[in-house]
Assembly symmetry: C2
Homo-oligomer: 217 residues x 2
DNA sequence: CGCATGCTTGAGCACGTTCAATTGCGGTGG
DNA sequence: CCACCGCAATTGAACGTGCTCAAGCATGCG
């Protein structure tokens, strides 16, 4: 269903494995950590990000219920090339690599699903590359908001189902705190989004799409 | 061997399929084209790129002998999200999707290799995302040169085994023609690279690495 | 009550892009 | 053989976006 979920097979694999609970802000693994296995998110939100310079990071994606994390460990590298941190309290299950590999050997359909999943992830990543090169900040932020809107359903009032600090939103948009601020202010002033202190609400989705479209002519 | 090659299995699949020859500059497919199958490069170089605005593009990667092209068609989209164009004369073989899918069903090892390949591609793409966000142009160009150096072996004099127009190099570095120009001039003046009109030569690899390292502190 | 920490805003600056003008060169036709 | 044209290479100057830095507020906690 969601492009990022492998609902059934992984669930089947993982159902008798031990669960893991991460509190908000806790980190699951960090760039450079040795690959031990992969993780399957039952509930909550994990951000997958890359750091440099202590207070600079770029958030590549959010993993939520039904998503997997750490799958880059399936590549040739012996270490994770990304970090994973809980954005809110998250329950996940750890599948050690030997077990996972043997599941892959037994279950051909799982591998195919996984391959397809990777293909979609790659698509997303390359789209992001393109956007970073040719879109101005405001459009990137608009895009980021729309992606959040797709991925996280909204509550009854219409607020996004993810509570993201501005810092995180900035990192997800590929910009810095202050810049994100001014743009969010703009968008709020224009009546396109609003915030209730906790989360955000997109009031005018087509306005966001239009901001993005300006660059794609 | 090379992270981007699937030497044996695909070769086995493809050995009785019809070959295809593309002249320099010819395009294999364009963003939005319906996915018909995937391609396997026997010889030559294909650039995989995304376009917008007629004369603006970003080159995501180069596919060369042993690489596959069009594999994003394996994702959920019905259309290629990228374009593919020959940088020099290229021989490749087309494998239609039904045939390829059935090969995947028969040959579990192939799927696993492919999955691993995707994982590595994803790693590369995410690395690129990071670099675009936090590196200044000069460092990105240095990085681009090093990647070319890795991927394309050098001739007896030490020149890169790829003849890339400056326009292409700019697109690969995520910048524009003029900017690339000035930086290439700088690098030449500093004695780090040189050019013989056809191709380029990296004279001082560690100097390039140092330019990149300045940003990663 | 005072210090610390994070939010907010302002001003300046730098990098890289844009635009335009000039040069160089190869091909073509007179 | 020279003159002209066209296109790509090259350079210069100016502009704008978005980042940096730092000061002003607010909020919280000892």
């Amino acid at each position: 269903m969601c492009r990022n979920s492998l609902p059934d097979w992984i669930a089947a694999i993982s159902h008798n494995k031990k669960n893991l609970v991460l509190k908000k802000g806790q980190t699951l693994f960090t760039e450079g950590d040795a690959v031990k296995g992969i993780y399957f998110v039952y509930d909550g939100i994990i951000k997958v990000h890359k750091n440099w310079n202590k207070d600079k990071e770029i958030i590549l994606r959010f993993a939520t219920r039904g998503d997997i994390v750490g799958h880059l460990g399936l590549g040739d590298g012996a270490a994770y090339p990304v970090s994973a941190t809980a954005v809110e309290q998250t329950v996940l299950c750890f599948i050690d690599m030997p077990f996972f590999e043997s599941s892959l050997n037994i279950n051909g359909s799982l591998v195919k699903q996984l391959m397809r999943f990777f293909a979609n992830e790659l698509y997303q990543a390359e789209e992001k590359v393109k956007n970073l090169v040719h879109m101005p900040v405001k459009a990137r932020i608009a895009q980021a908001l729309l992606r959040l809107d797709e991925q996280f359903s909204t509550d009854e009032e219409g607020y996004l189902g993810i509570e993201l600090s501005r810092q995180n939103l900035a990192s997800f948009s590929g910009t810095i705190y202050e810049t994100l601020f001014r743009v969010v202010n703009e968008l709020t002033a224009e009546g396109i989004i609003k915030t209730n202190g906790r989360s955000m609400m997109i009031c005018d989705k087509s306005a966001l799409e239009q901001i993005i479209a300006l660059e794609n002519n």
